[in-house]
């Protein structure tokens, strides 16, 4: 182990992720080739679909918004050494908070409602994450297990509430009553016609603000310092006078609150009503986004954009190349997750060997 030389920063942060994504696309290309389609044309369609025109770019940003919030939620918890797999359920429950406030004050102007719906969503999401946080801090139930299980509870609870309580009479689809247009979070297309019909809305700038907010919180505040101390070494943090239990609960709640903002985008921005399973896996993609982005806001932003582009480009691909089914799109997305998340460290040893050989004089004295 002593022979291992750390990689230069740019290799670690840029080259390695780029190589990982390239590998994923290489394998994805082989899949496309196997079904008898041209991989280069497929890439072209995906790029055009994701960035080539206003509607497509707007959809990319809409997906990106979800992935930024979910990615930040996972990242924040990760800095405290907590693996929050429950962003999916936290966001889902947050939808309840958003819709309750929205329907309660339906018809009120969005400028007043957006902060209210934001707070309600964040609080509901925070509550759903706080319980596993409490169980971890006070009862020692591992947060990975509890957050997974809380996803299932959230699904069942929300199915029940939507189909039995929130559904208005005479509607066949399982969905809540609609939020009036004036109350909904406005679409960016109302200000920027370039975005066509796409659903990207004011939640997107909010997501950008959240990136800065989380960066500031983790690296520029006492609280963030305590969070990182807890993540690096809980024993040392405790010895330094930090209340680990309290910090775990607060961090989990904040993490859930961030996941809850996905609901603001989906419920108040895009759908205008509460529908079944509106999260559609965004919470799980958040895990991949956080890992690929090294739990840093800049990384999260780029990874979220990549996945947003994959989702929207994938739609375009499935639409334009009927031979490529949606299952193959999922395969390609899964390959990216596999190579950037699960096998993200696979290329590190060979890269370390290459760079150790290339710059021994610089690296060695640092040992």
């Amino acid at each position: 182990m002593s022979a291992r030389v750390p990689l230069p920063a740019w290799v670690d942060r840029i080259l390695l992720p780029v190589l990982n994504v390239s590998l994923a696309f290489l394998i994805g290309g082989i899949v496309v080739l196997l079904v008898g389609q041209n991989p280069l044309e497929a890439v072209q369609i995906m790029l055009y679909g994701a960035f080539g025109y206003g509607d497509g770019f707007g959809y990319t940003l809409y997906y990106t918004t979800n992935f930024i919030f979910a990615g930040l939620a996972v990242s924040l918890a990760y800095h405290a050494g907590l693996f929050n797999i429950g962003a999916e359920g936290q966001g889902y429950i947050a939808g309840l908070g958003v819709i309750l406030v929205a329907l309660w004050l339906n018809g009120t102007h969005w400028a007043l409602m957006m902060p209210l719906m934001l707070v309600a969503g964040a609080l509901f999401g925070a509550f759903w994450a706080f319980i596993p946080g409490y169980l971890q801090a006070k009862r020692g139930s591992h947060v990975v297990i509890t957050t997974i299980l809380f996803n299932f509870i959230a699904t069942s609870l929300m199915s029940y509430l939507i189909s039995r309580v929130l559904k208005p009479a005479g509607v066949s689809a399982d969905e809540s009553a609609r939020i009036e247009a004036v109350t909904r979070v406005p679409q960016l297309r109302e200000f920027i016609p370039f975005f066509g019909y796409s659903p990207v809305n004011l939640t997107f700038p909010l997501a950008i603000a959240a990136l800065f907010g989380v960066w500031f919180l983790i690296w520029r505040t006492k609280f963030g310092y305590a969070v990182r101390a807890l993540g690096f070494n809980p024993t040392a943090a405790h010895y330094a006078g930090i209340s680990n239990a309290r910090l775990i609960m607060i961090t989990m709640a904040l993490s859930g609150g961030l996941a809850g903002l996905v609901a603001l985008n989906e419920v108040a921005g895009v759908q205008g009503r509460l529908i079944l399973n509106f999260m559609a896996g965004a919470g799980f993609v958040g895990i991949a986004v956080a890992f690929m982005g090294r739990a840093h806001p800049i990384g999260v932003a780029l990874a979220a954009l990549l996945f947003g582009a994959l989702y929207q480009g994938g739609q375009e691909l499935a639409f334009s190349m009927p031979a490529i089914t949606r299952d193959m799109i999922v395969t390609i997305q899964a390959l990216v997750i596999l190579f950037t998340g699960a096998m993200g460290e696979m290329l590190r040893p060979p890269l370390e060997r290459i760079f150790a050989r290339r710059a021994p004089a610089v690296a060695r004295p640092a040992e």
Binding site: E41, Q44, Y48, T155, S163, N277, A280
Partner: protein, 335 residues
């Protein structure tokens, strides 16, 4: 500098490629957008596909199709078809209701059709089925075929449409044998239950363990797990939507057909022949839109008495003598 240039060149090329592609697809062909369960669910969506396919084979006219992965894609894909000139655009499933309201209003010159929901716009045809009536008939068959006096129904999850199937089935079974015990177990709690055949098999197994010897699956793709488990135990299953009698010959009593394929075929054909109407079409037992499937795979299982009982009930439903309660009208089941 060169990098930027290459990048814009790629973008340009991609743009040009797409423009060419789009020009190629700007045909007045019909289009189908499938619901969340996906095209090959051996059930509802596949039935839609079969109808469209039959139309395509008979007329030589192609059709566009798309499978959604997220709800946000509904509006997007429907609009893409409308923008590229597809006509008519047909969607199976009430989950499309909100989408079709939005997009149909934007494209008044395009015709739309929705199955399982009513949308009263001037350019939308609505097709709804009386699933409870057809389920009543298969309930009669189930009660007559049961030797244990216990039968089961497995809906994917707690959901009004699926409960309407289950409720019609119970009414039919009770009309034959008022003392029959009917087990009713959901597979899951959300739409993903439709894609969970493993869960379907487990639920069916537990009903079998509790003595059920005929089980009606109302679970889309997950229903294949139900039928498999029932066949493994050498009991009787009942298929749904499409004719699933052939899946396990001898172990599928019948299938509750919902002729989505016919509705789809008729819609495309009407448009082709210039007979398109934008109205509400209700297909029940009287219209032969729903009902049990009889074919060579289940003829050994269906006795003459069973056949006669179904024919009698069919006549009474058609004449109005029997009114099967629809769960959806009051969200409750009388039996």
């Amino acid at each position: 500098m060169t990098k930027t240039f290459t990048r814009s060149a790629i973008a340009l090329a991609a743009g040009a490629g797409m423009a060419a592609l789009m020009a190629g697809t700007a045909l007045a062909d019909p289009a189908v957008l499938y619901d969340g369960g996906g095209k090959f669910d051996a059930s509802f969506n596949e039935s839609t596909f079969n109808g469209a396919q039959r139309f395509s084979e008979e007329t030589g006219i192609g059709f566009g199709e798309f499978e959604i992965t997220t709800d946000a894609q509904r509006e997007q894909a429907m609009r893409q078809f409308a923008q590229r000139g597809a006509n008519p655009i047909l969607v199976p499933g009430f989950n499309w209701e909100t989408t079709i309201r939005t997009v149909a209003a934007e494209f008044p010159d395009t015709n739309f059709a929705i199955i399982d929901a009513v949308v009263d716009l001037p350019n939308v045809r609505s097709i709804v089925f009386k699933e409870h009536e057809g389920s009543y008939l298969v309930g009669i068959l189930a009660a007559m075929a049961s030797e244990t006096g216990t039968i089961g129904v497995v809906p994917a999850f707690d959901f009004a449409l699926l409960n309407a199937f289950a409720c019609g089935y119970k009414q039919g079974a009770k009309s034959v044998n008022p003392d029959i015990e009917i087990l009713d177990t959901y597979i899951g709690s959300g739409f993903d239950a439709f894609n969970n055949p493993g869960g379907g098999a487990e639920v069916a197994q537990s009903q079998l363990d509790r003595g059920a010897d005929v089980i009606f699956q109302v679970a889309g793709g997950a229903g294949q797990g139900v039928l498999q488990a029932v066949a493994d135990a050498d009991k009787l299953g009942i298929g749904v939507d499409s004719n699933q009698n052939h899946l396990h010959p001898g172990n599928v009593l019948t299938s509750m057909l919902k002729r989505v394929d016919v509705a789809t075929y008729n819609a495309f054909k009407d448009f082709e022949d210039g007979n398109w109407t934008n109205e509400i079409i209700t297909l029940g037992v009287a219209e032969e839109g729903v009902g049990p499937a009889f074919d060579e795979h289940n003829e050994a299982l269906i006795t003459d008495e069973m056949r006669a009982a179904v024919d009698e009930a069919t006549a009474k439903i058609t004449s109005g003598e029997i009114v099967v309660h629809d769960f959806r009208t009051d969200n409750s089941c009388p039996v």
